[in-house]
Symmetry: C2
């Protein structure tokens, strides 16, 4: 269940980035709250230089908003932005599917099919255990994105939009059902890719994401 989404951690800025990322995505640092550089520097016991480096990268992920001479704030979640995010995702992941249908080799496709079967069985065993389901879904999307072999597309989806989407899912409590549905949809998408039918894979992925969007939208309507 390896999600190599995390960049290599070698520098101090990398470490504090990981911690901040987790805290923001999980809502430990509340949306809309102000970021105090001196305070965080003290908390992580390092100077402001690597901290600022980390903040810059968080801004790149749309998790922070920085204004010159005024500091950083954690982004606020809104229905409008969620909609904008999903509009983009439908388009980009659809494109990823179309490209993956021609760019992935047979071994990669077979590996994904096996992976999906694994997820299915493990999911049946641990009914309702949402972590694995979540990780499985992420892994599925992640592999298709990589399969597109388009470096800019990969960068946008896995580096710049991914964590913001996670933030929405986590903070709106998206552990819920829609499990078996999602598995079937994943299976259909992989089959289309295995048949080298990029058009169909594109269409199915758009529907899959649209369904996910509607799911999260209803959740959002009842919560906020």
């Amino acid at each position: 269940m390896s999600l190599p989404l995390l960049k290599p951690v070698v520098t101090a800025a990398d470490r504090v980035l990981q911690e901040l990322l987790q805290d923001i995505v999980n809502g430990v640092i509340a949306p809309g709250s102000k970021i105090s550089e001196p305070e965080l520097a003290k908390r992580f016991d390092l100077s402001r230089a690597p901290l600022r480096e980390a903040l810059a990268r968080l801004e790149r992920c749309h998790l922070l908003e920085r204004t010159p001479n005024a500091g950083s704030r954690v982004v606020k979640l809104s229905t409008e932005n969620l909609l904008s995010l999903y509009q983009l995702r439908e388009e980009l992941e659809g494109l990823a599917c179309r490209l993956a249908a021609t760019q992935m080799n047979d071994a990669e496709i077979r590996e994904m099919q096996e992976l999906l079967d694994q997820h299915l069985s493990s999911q049946r065993v641990r009914e309702g255990e949402s972590y694995y389901q979540e990780a499985g879904d992420l892994d599925f999307h992640y592999r298709i994105i990589l399969g597109s072999k388009n470096p800019y597309l990969i960068n946008i989806l896995t580096d710049e939009l991914y964590h913001l989407m996670r933030m929405y899912r986590v903070q709106l409590g998206m552990n819920g059902p829609r499990v078996s549905r999602a598995f079937d949809e994943h299976k259909a998408i992989i089959n289309a890719i295995a048949n080298r039918d990029g058009e169909l894979a594109d269409l199915l992925m758009r529907r899959h994401i649209a369904a996910s969007r509607r799911n999260i939208e209803t959740k959002l309507r009842t919560q906020i």
Copy 2:
């Protein structure tokens, strides 16, 4: 002919960012060459802190590649990457058109139509003067992107991919013809948006960008 693509310049990091951006896009700093932080700091007469801030932003634009403890290099131009870039652009600007067709208000659309007429007449006067043509094209695309009203889409196209595309255009000498063609295509796209026909605007924009890609591809084949 205002292209408000440049963020407000208030800090020292902003200034050096602008200079570096220009030098990299124009090839003054050669593609593939290594960036020396001490050297640049001396050249711009400031410390390494704001310089590193600028480098981080250039990395975000895909103009630099940084590896931990090894420094930064200017990206190299390649046919594969150019293709990947245009694949993304077709998809994203197509989406921008579809959204703009419903999101732009009548005043914004009328303004764009007038702007296009201005460009056409000024272009007829200054035949072959490529700067205005270039600026006109950029302005056209820019306004449609903004018209989508999707903040993430806007950020990706105007902040993260825009300068890299400029780099390809400049360094491959894309001043050339394809002027009148482009104007007609622009006109058709705006008309589709004015008719609130997002599907058509999407299609036309994809074709427009595909034509531009083929144009730049032949240029690239003869040059490299």
